[in-house]
């Protein structure tokens, strides 16, 4: 890449918060037409750096240059106005307005009477979406679209202004594989247009597919900057974790270890779970000491299956047995009593209770057990909480700290503690490592492994093929709400799984037979 004026340059920036050096002498530059990966564990300083660039924070030392001129934005609107757009993980749009209204929110085209020119707005919105290969009806209300398309609309909104630099903060966390491809199409288009892109993600596959160069932050400092192609995945992880390469190699890319010795009798039997049209005759079982992966694309019915077993989704028909006894479906309370635990996919909206303390969040499910004559036993509660904060290594300033202040990884550990303190027989994990940093991810994967070794039955749902194939002893493949195949033993490879997900049917027969023999 030839030398030229960078679009964005951050020169020797230092940002302090009381007691914390969030950014320590950080320099960073973004060239036109470059896609730069910005990586680091949670707390490494990525968000602070982005906020310094966009004007949310002003640095104590150092300067920020935009198109060669020194700038100092006092709030994000100013940086947006000159051409720096930021796309956040969460979608900040209005569900009830149309796609076009969302794209033009706050800057609607006006006609001569000063009223919103709806026709022009719809036409221009359609053009913008078209340009980036996004297919959607611009007059449809936003909420009627899939999450992925909504994210695309957010991106279209951000870059339809005269943008020179785009910052994407984990843009793919709610996208399906196909939608990720569309996003990458958009990014390639931006590269063509000589726009600079800063791409923040925890997903290594994506980084290697779309990014040119990489900047690794650790503890507020830049520890590596260079061409991504020159760096192996292991080297990249080693930089992020600040560990020796040999150490990382020994551990492998995920925290999962060996296969487990499963018992003979299933602890959980799901039979013919049907909730038309989302679930159709889903049947599988899980034995103690076994990790069963539920694989499938977004919308295949993985989460619905998990929730149906847990009693949080109504069923048209089907039954669930725990330890041979029928479970009353349709009640999480009954499922919990029977020994089922469920870690939901969406940590924020279904997991944590943000204003309550770490302590209160951990014991949320255990409350009935800690209650004597209607009162919560503080002593038993504190013992339980201390034990799990310690054993899971939850980093909080105190058990009374509100859980919303914790990092994603630590929040997830709090939720795991909520369920592990119940001594469950079956643990259902729905995307347990989504959106958390590499370190915490490996820890949680290791924990799942250990739990299965101790005889717990685990159902693991994950969109990451690597996680499913390395973590599971058996994989149940779902497509369109039905089981299309079961893989076990040597058969569990990413290639085989994709084959089953893609072709289903025939593979399912074979696996069914194999399973019957096994039982």
């Amino acid at each position: 890449m030839e030398q030229q004026t960078p679009i964005l340059e951050v020169r020797r920036v230092t940002k302090r918060f009381p007691g914390v050096l969030a950014l320590d002498d950080v320099s960073f530059e973004l060239r036109p037409g470059e896609v730069r990966a910005l990586v680091g564990e949670n707390g490494a300083g990525k968000s602070t750096l982005i906020k310094v660039i966009t004007g949310v924070y002003s640095p104590e030392e150092g300067e920020v240059f935009f198109k060669g001129e020194e700038v100092s934005f006092s709030d994000p609107r100013e940086s947006q106005a000159v051409g720096i757009s930021t796309i956040y993980q969460e979608i900040n749009l209005i569900p009830l307005l149309s796609v076009a209204q969302n794209v033009f929110l706050g800057r609607e085209p006006r006609n001569t009477f000063g009223l919103i020119d709806v026709n022009r707005m719809n036409r221009e919105a359609a053009e913008i979406l078209e340009r980036y290969g996004i297919r959607a009806d611009v007059t449809a209300p936003l909420h009627s679209l899939g999450l992925g398309v909504q994210q695309m609309v957010a991106i279209a909104r951000a870059i339809s202004v005269d943008t020179r630099a785009v910052i994407m903060d984990e843009p793919t966390s709610s996208l399906e594989a196909r939608e990720v491809e569309t996003l990458f199409g958009v990014i390639r288009q931006l590269r063509e247009e000589r726009v600079g892109v800063i791409y923040v993600s925890h997903r290594l596959d994506e980084l290697y597919e779309i990014c040119d160069r990489v900047t690794v932050l650790r503890d507020g400092r830049v520890v590596h900057t260079g061409e991504l192609a020159d760096l192996s995945r292991l080297q990249l992880i080693a930089h992020m974790l600040g560990r020796e390469l040999t150490e990382v190699e020994a551990e492998g890319a995920t925290g999962f270890g060996e296969e487990h010795e499963a018992a003979k009798e299933p602890i959980l039997e799901a039979k013919g779970l049907t909730q038309w049209p989302r679930l159709r005759e889903i049947t599988f079982d899980v034995r103690p000491g076994e990790v069963v992966g539920l694989a499938g694309l977004l919308g295949a019915g993985r989460t619905e299956t998990a929730k149906a077993i847990f009693g949080a989704e109504p069923l048209d028909s089907g039954s669930v047995k725990v330890g041979g006894d029928d479970l009353r479906t349709g009640s999480p309370g009954a499922a919990i009593k029977a020994g089922i635990a469920f870690l939901p996919e969406d940590r924020k909206s279904e997991g944590i209770i943000p204003d309550l303390s770490v302590k209160e969040n951990i014991v949320a499910a255990a409350l009935p057990r800690l209650t004597h004559a209607g009162l919560v036993s503080e002593k038993e509660q504190d013992q339980l909480v201390d034990r799990f904060i310690e054993s899971l290594g939850i980093k909080a300033s105190s058990p009374d700290q509100p859980v919303r202040e914790l990092s994603g990884g630590n929040q997830q550990k709090v939720l795991l503690a909520r369920w592990l303190c119940m001594n469950p027989k079956v643990l259902i994990l729905d995307e347990p490592t989504r959106g958390i940093d590499v370190g915490a991810k490996a820890e949680i994967q290791k924990l799942v492994d250990d739990l299965a070794l101790d005889g717990l039955a685990v159902i693991l749902i994950s969109s990451e093929l690597e996680e499913i194939t390395e973590g599971s002893d058996r994989v149940v493949a779902l497509r369109d709400g039905a089981v299309v195949g079961v893989l076990s033993g040597e058969d569990i490879t990413e290639g085989r799984l994709m084959e089953v997900l893609a072709h289903g049917g025939d593979a399912a027969e074979g696996s069914e037979n194999e399973r019957d023999v096994g039982e």
Binding site: V20, G43, D355, A364, K395
Partner: protein
Amino acid sequence: MRQKGLRTKETWVNRASTVTGALDRSAVTSWVRGRGVYVAFVALVVFNLAITPNFASVATLSNLLIQVSPVVLVSLGVALAIGTEGIDLSVGSVMALASVFLPLYIGYGWPVGIFAALLVGAMAGLVNGSLVAFVGVQPIIATLAMLVGGRGLAQIFAGGQLLIVSDPAVLALGQARPFGIPAPVIVATVAAIVVGFLVKRTTFGRYVVAIGGNRSASYLSGHPVRRTLLAVYAISGLLAALAGIVATARLGASDPSNIGILIELSAITAVVVGGTPLSGGRVKILGTVMGALLIQLIATTFIANNLPFTWAQVFTAAIILVAVYLQKGRGAA
């Protein structure tokens, strides 16, 4: 070990500083945010001691406390409802309804009369709670229906007239002064302690804040969401009935067209000013009591100094806005 403290602190600082922009300011606002109602109350007391004639007298104090008692009683229930991210607008009408049932059944003896009044309050609360928990009606609509219908029912039962209550045991509830403390004050204090205990120490209290904080998460943790909501509105109805009984006893009569009128607004003010966010997830019982005292003290201050009462209302409005402003930062983070 060092890292641990640092990271959590960073998140905290990020959040606080995004909210208010400057660090010093955020430290001050967050201090005030937690204790604003106490600060305002103390300031107003000091102000009164300085300028209001005869402020520091037993008569003024006991008057203030007697007047605030019904507001405190209904505020406790409203605080619980708001804690679950709901609201109870019907408390004033439920007061009236309970107030009418007291004279209607007092012929069977005062315990029956009081029991009937409490029962009808609890029943009204159960209706609210069922609509909210089982039918899925929004709390503001469900309790608005009860606000309108409850008073109508009360007037129908009363036959459109004032019903005199002369049973001495009932009157004592409004007028007696054991150990020099007015009975309504004792009733309100005991109720506040009981509800405070419910919130702080019981599993029920945990369910209330968990539901208000994140209803899905609470449900998926196996909490009895519907049962808890039902209980919250039933308790609110019961407390409103108690307030109705006390108000009736003070008056010596049941006046269904006036008793408890607009008290729901005072109650909401007390709860919000006391630091319970309208978005639920927290319940501040002591704050609610202080909030009720504060708005009563504002009224007293204006009246005692011969200022037009209408200005007291404007002043109260300002206090509400300040309280809501101070809370605003939390949700925005």
